[in-house]
Every structure is written in C-alpha cells, then in structure tokens.
C-alpha cells in the first residue's frame, strides 16, 4: 500500500479521465466502477465519462468487436463513416482532462481531438486481440497509433505498432461476493441445494456453455478419469447468447448430464456470485479447459481459493498458471483426464499447487496490483527511459 501512495503522490494535481461506451454491464464498466473510487481514496482525481451513441452506432461497434475476435465480419464505408461521425459528436461534447484513458474500440476515434487540445492519451484494449480482422484493424490502427501508449491484457494481443504497448492483466477483487471467504455452512447449503455430495471428490468448471470453453471436452475428460477414480463433475455457468452454437452445446451437455447422475449441469442466472464462490470453494479440483481465452479470470478466482486447477494453455491462462508450480496446463482431453486422476489421487501435491496458486494470485492478480499498474501507467506518460528515478 505504501508504494501505491508513493505513486499516487506523483499524480498530484492531475486528473485521470476514463472514457468508455457503457455505464453498466460488461467487464469494463465493472472494473471502472471499482477502480474510480479506489483511485479517489488514494488521492488521485479520477472521473468517468460514457460516450453517447444510438442503436446504429452500437450495431457497428458490435461488428468491430466480433471482427477483432476473429469472427468474419463485413462493414461498408457508410458504417465506418457513421462510426467516425458519432465519435466526433462526442469529442465536441466532452470536456477533456489531463490524462485521457480511452477503453476499447467504441471511443477510439476521440483521439482526433488531440491535434486541437493536446493532453496525454492512452488506449486500453480489454478484448482478445490475437487475431483481429485485418480490415477492421487497419481502420482502427490509424487512431490507435496516435495515442501515447496502448494497454493489452495478454502478450499474444500485442501488435506491430510504433507506440508503446503495455501489459496490464485484469484482476479479481478478493472482497467481492465471488471471491470473499464463505462460512462452511454456506458452502454446504449450496452443495445440498444442487444435490452434490461433498464427501466425494468434486471436479468443477465454471464457465459459459460456449464451444470455446469446451464443456463437452470436459465431459470426455471426466469419463476417462472416472474409469480410475471416484468423482462428480460440475459444469456451472450461464448461456452464451451471442454464440450461435451455444444452444446446441447446452443441449448436448444436458443430454450427457441426464445419462450420468454424477454430472451436474447447472445453468446459473447472472446474479449467482455466492453460488459460484461456494462451488469453487467446495470443489476438489477446478478445470478451465478453454480452447481460446481472453484472460480467463475464473482461473484467478479458483487459484485465489487455493484450489488445484487444471486449465488449457491458451490466452492469458499461462500468465496465471506455471505448469506444475501453481497449477496444471493441458492441451488435450487426454492430458486433462490424466491430471484429474493425478490430483485426486495425490491430495498433498494438489494442495501444494493450490497454495502456490493462491500466492501467485495474491502477488500478481488482485485489484491492488491492477491499480498499481494503472498508476504506474499514468506516471510513466511523463517520463522516458528504461530506469526512471522518481
């Protein structure tokens, strides 16, 4: 904490202005709603503005979003023009502060204002940028390259651009409902409610029922492991409304669960943080067998609870798990099955992985680290060099 205050002092007299496209819903709004007050508590003046846009604008930015995630997408010239028009309208309305911190592609073209007003500008990309649609990226990059710095969540998202690119990973809030300590009775009551037997090993994956989270692969891994060790499998999460394959995946998971009394497919409503927390805390092993992943904060949530965790080596997951040190990284159904057996059969080793994982999250992925990285980012805008004496 002392170091946070030392950094905050260096920002005395400056105002950080966050700008994004939504005040509620979504990960960015969730982060900002926690971050802005915390910066204030450290004595840093921070504000948060939301750009205005109509349905047409957000339909276009949704196309950007899909294209940047690698989904084939087409935009016409009129759509690009309309995107710019809305950004220019917002730029005319907003009063800009010392450090303009722009989040995601929707407000990226506000940077056009820079030639008129100066200021320090940072663009923060919260999405998986590993395989962006080349046309959309070409359009956006003309704006991104005018910023003083850019920020990405994982090394794979870095681009070949002539402005500094910083790695700032997301974080979890240890005091939130999803992560805070829970009384054993609460965990017991959640398990009882779902009919899961806590006296037997429980292997859990918390994720949307989405092809990329590979719930069917998880079931296959469970079946292989189950031939050798007693266990129950919990798949818990919500649906994927923007995934056309989602309903089919959910149906197949349901079918599998109906055939096996030890598979629990739990379709949880959005406000289920306590249930998710309890399921993670009461599990023997946690899985996150993703095929692709932005960052994969469910891994950080599991590790924070000192749970031995087996996860796909994709996206930001290798930042959170060092194989055989703070968890297990796998690449296949067979590998996942192998490690499920190993961790259930070797509880001392599993506990050591879990303890290391918790320490790793404590040191690297809690909200305090996230704030430190942001403060350092803002301070760094005023300094050059590899080693800076403040």
């Amino acid at each position: 904490m002392e170091e946070l205050f030392l950094l905050a002092e260096r920002l005395s007299g400056r105002v950080i202005q966050n700008i994004n496209s939504t005040a509620v819903g979504g990960g960015v709004a969730e982060i900002l709603s926690r971050m802005v007050p915390l910066l204030g508590q450290l004595g840093v003046k921070a504000r948060w503005d939301v750009i205005k846009g109509d349905e047409k604008f957000f339909a276009i930015t949704k196309k950007f979003h899909n294209g940047l995630h690698g989904v084939p997408t087409k935009l016409n010239n009129g759509e690009y023009e309309y995107f710019l028009e809305v950004n220019r309208q917002n730029a005319a309305d907003i009063v800009f502060d010392d450090i303009v911190f722009v989040h995601d592609p929707q407000p990226v073209a506000l940077i056009e204002k820079r030639s008129e007003i100066g200021k320090r500008w940072v663009w923060r990309c919260h999405i998986d940028f590993s395989r962006p649609d080349p046309k959309i990226w070409k359009f956006l990059s003309q704006f991104v390259t005018r910023y003083d710095a850019t920020v990405f969540s994982a090394p794979a998202f870095a681009q070949k651009i002539p402005v500094p690119q910083l790695l700032i990973a997301p974080s979890i809030d240890p005091l939130s409902d999803k992560n805070r300590e829970l009384p054993e009775q609460t965990i017991d009551s959640v398990f009882e409610r779902f009919g899961i037997d806590r006296s037997r090993p429980v292997v859990t994956q918390i994720s949307r029922f989405d092809y990329l989270k590979d719930p069917l692969g998880v079931i296959q891994a469970y079946k292989r492991a189950r031939a050798h060790v007693d266990m129950q499998l919990v798949l818990a999460g919500g649906g994927a409304t923007d995934d056309p394959e989602g309903p089919m995946i959910m149906e197949r998971v349901k079918e599998e669960a109906e055939k096996d009394r030890d598979i629990f497919a739990l379709f949880l409503p959005p406000a289920s943080d306590i249930e998710i927390n309890a399921l993670q805390r009461g599990s023997t092993v946690i899985l996150q067998k993703s095929l692709r992943e932005g960052f994969g904060l469910t891994v950080a949530e599991a590790l924070w609870k000192a749970k031995p965790t087996i996860a796909g080596a994709v996206g930001g997951i290798p930042l959170q798990i060092t194989h055989k040190h703070s968890g297990i990284l796998t690449h296949s159904i067979e590998g996942t099955a192998h490690w499920i057996r190993q961790l259930i059969s070797a509880p001392e080793y599993a506990a050591k992985l879990g303890a290391n994982g918790r320490e790793h999250i404590r040191n690297n992925f809690l909200i305090t680290r996230h704030i430190k990285d942001y403060l350092l980012l803002f301070v760094s805008l005023f300094h050059d060099g590899d080693v800076v004496y403040l």
Binding site: L6, N364, D386
Partner: protein, 213 residues
Amino acid sequence: MDDFHFYTKLDQTILLGVQAQNVRGLLRGIKKVPDSSIYYHTHRFLHQHHYLSPEPPNDFAYWVSQVLGDDALGEQLWSVDIVEFQSIAGLREKFAAILKRHLASTKRHIDCPDGEEFYFMASRTFVFPTTYVAQNLAEFAEVLEKVSINSLYYHMFDAKLRLEHGENDFSRWFHGLGKTQLANETRSLDPYSHTLEGLRQRIVTLVKKYDSH
C-alpha cells in the same frame, strides 16, 4: 560513511510485438531485443514467484521445456548461473551461445503449437526513495525486516545486473563501513536460490552476527 537510504521500485511490463515459434526464432529474438527484455525474461519468474524455492526456471528455459518439449535444451538454459554475470550483455551472449550450439548440433526443428509462441517483453523500472534510512548495522537489520519485497529486490538484484553496479547495494555499503567480511559474505550469497523472504532473513542474520562482533 553515508547513511544507507532504502529505495523501492515498481516495474512496468512492455510488450515488444516480437515473438518466436521455434528455437531459431528464440535466438533471433534474444539477439535483437533490448537489455531490459533479457533482464525481464531471466527475472520475471523470480519476481512473480518469489515465494517459491527452488527457483523456477527463466522464461527461455520454461518455454523450451514446456512448450517445445525439448528437456535437454531446456536444462541447459535453466542451468545458466545468473549470479555469475556482471552485465546483461554477457547473459545475452550466454543464452545465444547455447541456442547456436544446439541449432548446429541437431536437425530437429520443432515449431510450437499455435497460440503458444514465445512473446518477448521488457520492463521499465521506476525507482522511489522510501522513508527508511539506516545509520549503522543495528538500524540496517531492523529496517531490512520492514521494507517491501520490492525494495529488497531492487537493492539485491536490480542494482547488480540491471543497473550494472557490479555488486549488490548492501555489500557496497558494508564495505564502506569497513565490514569487509560481511560485505564478502553478502556478495557471495546466491540470491537466486532463496525465496525473497528467505533471502531477507539470511541477510538480517548475517548483519546481526557481524554487528555483535
């Protein structure tokens, strides 16, 4: 002799947009990235996993072993004894030499799976003065138990290799106090084989021992 002023540091991680898919690419990257990248990839594990002992491998060794599956080459990269090096240039040359020798001796050229490329990164270090000052060994031992891990890390690791002071800051100060034996013992510690908390306790114990002499 001047008082010892404790500093602390914070690091910012820079993405370089340079990646490798195989050993040849790793060598190409090692040759061209800035010193701050070599330092980052040989110290990241230590900094992020400072509670683990024995020391996990450097990033190069980890990637070669875990992703490319070449345990023999990984072991060579892992066994580079960082404590022996006085400069990052020397460390870079050592890694490059191992990779060159490997490439010359094998026809086995394996690409990593998609998505598991080695991404070169670097760090910018921001150094701050703290309020902690020691005027003698007794005060030094007392303060060293209080300062942050980042402060310990800065004076023991960054000072020697990143800032190329030739040795850690503590040994230099002990020398200035005329405590040559303490300075030598602190300098000869292998900081890479301790957890950072273990290292802190080891130095505190040494300082207390020599303070009573």
